[in-house]
Symmetry: C2
Subunit: 136 residues, 2 copies
């Protein structure tokens, strides 16, 4: 299940991308327009900023704005930042690999093979979509 954090983050990014100019947009405006708790959105935008997708400006007339072009923001990286691993099981994660505690041997694990297929098909979808594809 997709977390609210990710969903809200995607909506906020899309909202910013749909703005014609790159003037700062206040958190309150985004929260109101997208039905998001303002404080919660605050923390989400903060992590997106730290990752380098968003710029921010404090004080009056401040807010958040896109730094990169929407087409240059692939869903793969956005999803990893907001949601974490794309793989359903840590032992098939490319960026967040961990050994499964209950598996003595990955190669002989029946679930392993299936989860690799799911991971790859999901990665293909995210790889084929950028923020530009979420715009109007």
């Amino acid at each position: 299940m997709l977390s609210k954090k990710t969903k809200y983050g995607l909506k906020a990014l899309t909202y910013l991308a749909n703005k014609k100019d790159r003037e700062p947009v206040q958190i309150a405006e985004i929260a109101l327009h997208e039905n998001i708790s303002q404080k919660f959105l605050e923390s989400i935008l903060l992590t997106l900023r730290k990752t380098g997708y968003l710029g921010s400006k404090k004080g009056k007339g401040g807010g958040y704005y896109l730094i990169k072009e929407p087409a240059e923001i692939p869903m793969t990286t956005v999803m990893r930042v907001l949601e974490g691993p794309i793989a359903l099981v840590p032992c098939v994660s490319l960026n967040f690999y961990e050994k499964c505690s209950d598996c003595p041997d990955e190669a002989s694990c029946s679930v392993h093979k299936l989860m690799i297929q799911v991971r790859d098909s999901t990665l293909e979808v995210f790889g084929n979509n950028s923020l530009a594809d979420l715009m109007d």
Copy 2:
């Protein structure tokens, strides 16, 4: 992230499928062989039995056994029974549809379109795999 319940359930099903005959296998044997908490596995096998994949036999020499052929047990339905909805968002779920509380209009939701793609690609993987594909 795949729940332990689902992972254990898949492993147990695979274990039973790999048995040459269809003699009952005790919970304790499966739990030991697959590194699963016995009591936890007990409840998982119970739900799989209620769904119609497994038969059980009580008393001495009892246990669980496959009812259907592995090739006739598609991952799609197994995953839905164990894990629940395949879609990442309820508003794109085919079998567990629910309206998203924060979305006034699905058609104009930017996340909606993306999640449909993910759902379809995942469904294709599960549709192409049956329990037989998880066997040795």
